[in-house]
Symmetry: C2
Subunit: 276 residues, 2 copies
């Protein structure tokens, strides 16, 4: 039997989990492959990986071949800090204007479209662009940013612009958490290697328990190697976390239903969870 | 400052070091890239990596742009178990015959040529082939194997064939240890980031100290995921180790001199070590 091939998102939001995995020696018993979420989804679907965190919307598009790990996701309940809509006008007034969507995101692109359509009742044009705020705002009236670029704008909000934290807006509108990524397992792997899936699931849960108990240390560690101070990482790691309890699954189901309602998802799959 | 990008050889011989690195949490402070030694050498030379274990002969061919870490190498003092010449005739009688060299090795190919030429005074034809013993012995009179294929033949020697452990032969002939791979640093990285190089060098030394103190545990762990029993791993991890003391450096210098003498290396470089 070979070590399970497990994907890992090489972004700052997954650093607390990685820290927990290193401290719990998980890297001895999995073959960890680090990449961005879109590439992880591709490698999972083509069989290069056995399990991986992938964008929530990509999971929904390929749910037939996948099941989810039960106790882990990338999620927020309210503020997320790193998914931001920056606009020259109030979001309600975006009709007839142009919104630039960062090409580095799948789930957040659809989240922005859902909120602009359903929460703000606006109907702008959308264009995809690389994540560069000045360039985006030269060509468009609003810009969706995620990750480091969003955090920079969140912590140092550009003057004279409207900034919307899409986690905050989602939870205020729906009363539900938002799930950005899920840990998916190839269905055939889950069927043939259930013990390996169970072991990885437990190893990830143990790593999360470690990381939750050491968020101050992890924030100091992050500040050593990354460009923001420790207290900002601490605040960020509180906002964007790893919960996937029943309310979070409700949030995921609601998100997928809204995505389908605006034509961004063909059909809403049943959410199937390993071992449940 | 970014985390140092450190290569790691994804073969069983480097598993003890990896185990030590995981247990010492080294993976928090380096960006570890796992690959085979030839690919690591390419990525180090093109600047993708900052430091990496690379084949001893590749180091010598590109020594102008590299310096070595002082306390680590992949080496043996006598028996190595995983570099084997399997022959239908005694090695002294290979003149006029054909030797198949596994295409997965650089340093060991040259080692085999040195020993066949200088130790056994034979002058066979050489061909490169993928590492498949039956196929090699269909087309040739002798075969150089390394790694798993060699270990399998070492532990279950094929009947009616001569088997030579090239580590044993080298040390019997020269009185010196043999160095198969070295940890090389790009010279420009060593000049601009000496503190990072020093930190990685110390982290590797700490990991080696851990691994030397826990070889029984590591052998049990290896047996859990690999195809051989723990006691064979224990014996192998004693044979192929990580020493680079002065006698080992003498062994490396002698190997490079012999490689040059038979025309496999253009010139013998001075061995430059970081911090010395």
């Amino acid at each position: 039997m070979a070590r399970p091939k497990l994907g890992h998102i090489q972004f700052i939001n997954c650093l607390p989990l990685y820290y927990g995995m290193v401290k719990n020696d998980v890297l001895l018993d999995v073959d960890l492959v680090r990449a961005n979420p879109a590439d992880l989804a591709r490698e999972l679907l083509d069989g290069t990986l056995d399990m991986a965190p992938i964008p929530a919307i990509e999971y929904a598009r390929h749910a037939d071949g996948l099941v989810l790990l039960p106790d882990i996701a990338i999620s927020s309940n309210g503020e997320v800090q790193s998914i931001l809509l920056i606009s020259k006008v109030p979001a309600e007034k975006l009709t007839g204007r142009t919104v630039a969507l960062t090409n580095t995101s799948r789930t957040s692109q659809v989240l922005a479209r859902v909120l602009i359509d359903k929460r703000w009742s606006a109907t702008p044009e959308y264009v995809e662009m690389p994540p560069d705020l000045p360039a985006m705002l030269r060509d468009a009236d609003a810009a969706l940013l995620i990750g480091d670029e969003a955090l920079r704008a969140y912590w140092d909000q550009p003057e004279g612009l409207y900034a919307y934290d899409l986690g905050t807006v989602w939870t205020a509108w729906t009363g539900l958490p938002m799930v950005y990524a899920v840990w998916a397992v190839r269905r055939d792997y889950a069927l043939t290697q259930p013990a390996a899936v169970q072991a990885v699931s437990e190893a990830l849960s143990g790593s999360l328990a470690y990381c939750r108990a050491h968020l101050d240390d992890i924030s100091d560690y992050a500040a050593r190697w990354e460009q923001f101070p420790a207290e900002k990482f601490r605040s960020y790691f509180d906002a964007l976390h790893f919960r996937f309890q029943p309310r979070y699954r409700e949030g995921l189901a609601r998100y997928l239903a809204e995505a389908a309602a605006i034509g961004q998802l063909e059909r809403v799959p049943a959410i199937e969870v390993f071992g449940e």
